[in-house]
Symmetry: none
Subunit: 402 residues, 2 copies
């Protein structure tokens, strides 16, 4: 079912405000069977109050058993089928450093490597060269690589990793990696998977040739491989599919990047949740939809620190009154996936979800937690349906059929 096609003729405008408040990796696991999860352990009086007035459910980001990365996790929350709308690795890497891809760009994850005098790779990651040493090399490439008819943008990431973007006409995004995945052989020649990407493949080869020349006297990194060579994903905007003028207020570049891929405005440069909420207040009249991203419920989960995740969850809860003071019509608290501190990684477990709105049908939940969500009124649902529920609760969807 194409949800966007289904709702397109039903959309109607009004002056409601929708807030999507994402606690990254919000779902968790208890420390022992039968125990409480991080969210259940945390003292979250504000979310608990909204749980009593609102409706709960368990969101499945992609499909049962699938642990999503941040890309598919957020696309699902934004109402885009995460299996249909794939973001290539290169595009995600560029997005992750906050680079704004344009239509027709080709983005690439590049790795510095070392090659011997015969051109055979001796270290695929250039000894994980420290960022402070790789950055000047990237800057040199940015200045000195020059390819006819193509703008070449090179940006540092971390250690041996950097991003390359080619901008120009007729650049397809279907080219195989040039990393041979082993040492003792030269980097592969770039191979187009379809005729429209032949030019990109030749540009890739020319780029690597120039990198080798420019870095020929470097000891730590004298060549590079290109991976995840992909075009800008073609994703219709929030305005197009929902008629929503949307703002993203995030601290980390990755989430600003993901929001910009669906056409949200990136608002301000907040460094903390307080600053995010303040920015939201400043911009309250300018937007219909606010995506607020809180990172630390995920990072503490990734660190395997149960207690820290509990504290960060309490911090996530503490900002709720200031948000509710702005009187959103629809308020949603959820995560893009679970990150149980017991696993120190993203997981496949369903994500606790709270939707609060005047006309939601409350379900008798007493508090916000994984177990309460199991009997919540939204049931278990695929994340991609959440935006339709938000629009409906905001009175922004008319009847389907007469």
């Amino acid at each position: 079912m194409d949800l966007h096609k289904l709702i397109a003729p039903l959309l109607q405008k009004n002056d409601t405000k929708i807030v999507l408040y994402v606690g990254d990796g919000l779902g968790g696991l208890p420390q022992e069977p039968g125990g409480k999860t991080e969210l259940e352990t945390a003292n979250t009086p504000n979310l608990d109050k909204l749980a009593r007035e609102g409706v709960l459910g368990s969101s499945i980001p992609v499909a049962p058993g699938i642990s999503p990365g941040s890309g598919p996790g957020h696309l699902g929350l934004f109402g885009y089928d995460p299996v249909e709308y794939l973001i290539g690795r290169g595009a995600l890497e560029a997005t992750g450093i906050g680079f704004k891809l344009e239509e027709g760009d080709v983005a690439i994850r590049a790795n510095f490597c070392t090659v011997d005098s015969d051109g055979n790779i001796t270290d695929r990651r250039a000894g994980r060269i420290p960022s402070e040493e790789s950055k000047p090399l990237v800057e040199r490439l940015a200045k000195e690589v020059s390819i006819d008819g193509v703008e070449v943008i090179v940006k540092p990431v971390k250690e041996h990793r950097f991003v390359v973007v080619f901008r120009g006409p007729d650049l397809g995004g279907e080219v195989e990696d040039t990393d041979p995945q082993r040492t003792g052989v030269p980097p592969l020649k770039a191979e187009a998977r379809e005729p429209g990407s032949e030019k990109t493949a030749r540009v890739c080869d020319e780029f690597v040739k120039q990198v080798r020349q420019l870095l020929s006297h470097e000891e730590k990194a004298n060549c590079c491989t290109l991976r995840g060579i992909t075009g800008k994903p073609s994703i219709p905007s929030f305005e197009e599919v929902y008629g929503l003028h949307a703002a993203a207020i995030a601290v980390y570049p990755m989430y600003k990047g993901l929001a910009s891929l669906v056409g949200m405005d990136i608002v301000g440069d907040a460094q903390s949740l307080d600053e995010q909420v303040a920015l939201m207040k400043e911009n309250w009249d300018k937007y219909d939809f606010f995506f607020i991203h809180f990172k630390y419920t995920d990072s503490t989960g990734e660190d395997g620190d149960f207690d820290a995740k509990v504290r960060r969850t309490e911090e996530y809860d503490a900002a709720v009154p200031a948000i509710m003071d702005m009187h959103p019509d629809v308020f949603i608290a959820t995560g893009d996936h679970s990150t149980p501190s017991m696993l120190s990684s993203h997981s496949w477990h369903a994500v606790p979800t709270l939707l609060w709105a005047k006309n939601c049908r409350s379900d008798g939940a007493e508090s916000f937690g994984e177990r309460q969500c199991l009997t919540g009124g939204l049931g278990q649902f695929e994340a991609k349906h959440l935006m339709t529920l938000a629009l409906a609760n905001a009175g922004r969807l008319t009847k389907f059929g007469a």
Copy 2:
């Protein structure tokens, strides 16, 4: 969503063991509204303990309201979309008697019938000729029918029913039934539905012609009709789609056959659950995945015998400790469909499902039963997702997207 395509790039190998313990037709109905089902009535201390530590849910074999046969029921449990992967009736009949179809085979359900001197059918089922009388006829056909360039395999089933398999080059599986579904007319000529099955149609006609000649002096059965003429279904194997080396330990030929269609090894020739568990133990180191099939929860349901189904459910429970003693990483107890003894048949009701693994998110269930499953952490889910959940819980799937 093509689940197999989704998980293919995510698969990773490890040395975990997954056990799929199927109580055929496990789900049931109470004897009066508000009463307990067979599973809820049964004393199942071992499954109840796992329910407290694990996670429950209700599995929908095909779609809400659809009562599946054994074929689609098991294909769903094995993670194959039962609507996409259809097993033709001929192939299922051959599979059901334990016959191992090869690629390119055409399998047929044949019925003995009687025809008069004009060749018109007088009894479509040859008076349901007893098996002991039809078997020698089948043996004669097996010996004496001979068709150029085609190997003809004929196997008895029961009463008037037998299986015919044609093996040879260029035999398509798209041929209409030759049973006219009424008496007083001759069997139909075989009609190919597509040009690639013309040869099969001619072989069918030649087969029926020879049967009629060979049995011309038989009184009880002197001809046959051919039905469900189908090729071997093309189903990718467990090894291909999950990277799992899988063993099937079943008593009944049908379930061995279904497992062999998805490429499981058929292990041993157990005649009881004890023997199945012993075989499992003997083969524990050789496989990643074990499918253990217990028939009697279904057959007692089919018999309409509530009390017998309760006793068989207790027998199903009693084998659990011996299985858990082998320390599987993921243990699943479920059914391929419900078989309520109140209905004496397969039904559409959701199937109680228990998944036990170290990192499943337990849901506060107290015991294993239909009602507890309603508030289970797996929610209601299509059976085809169960294998993805098993792989995730076994740590055999990496993250989808970055």
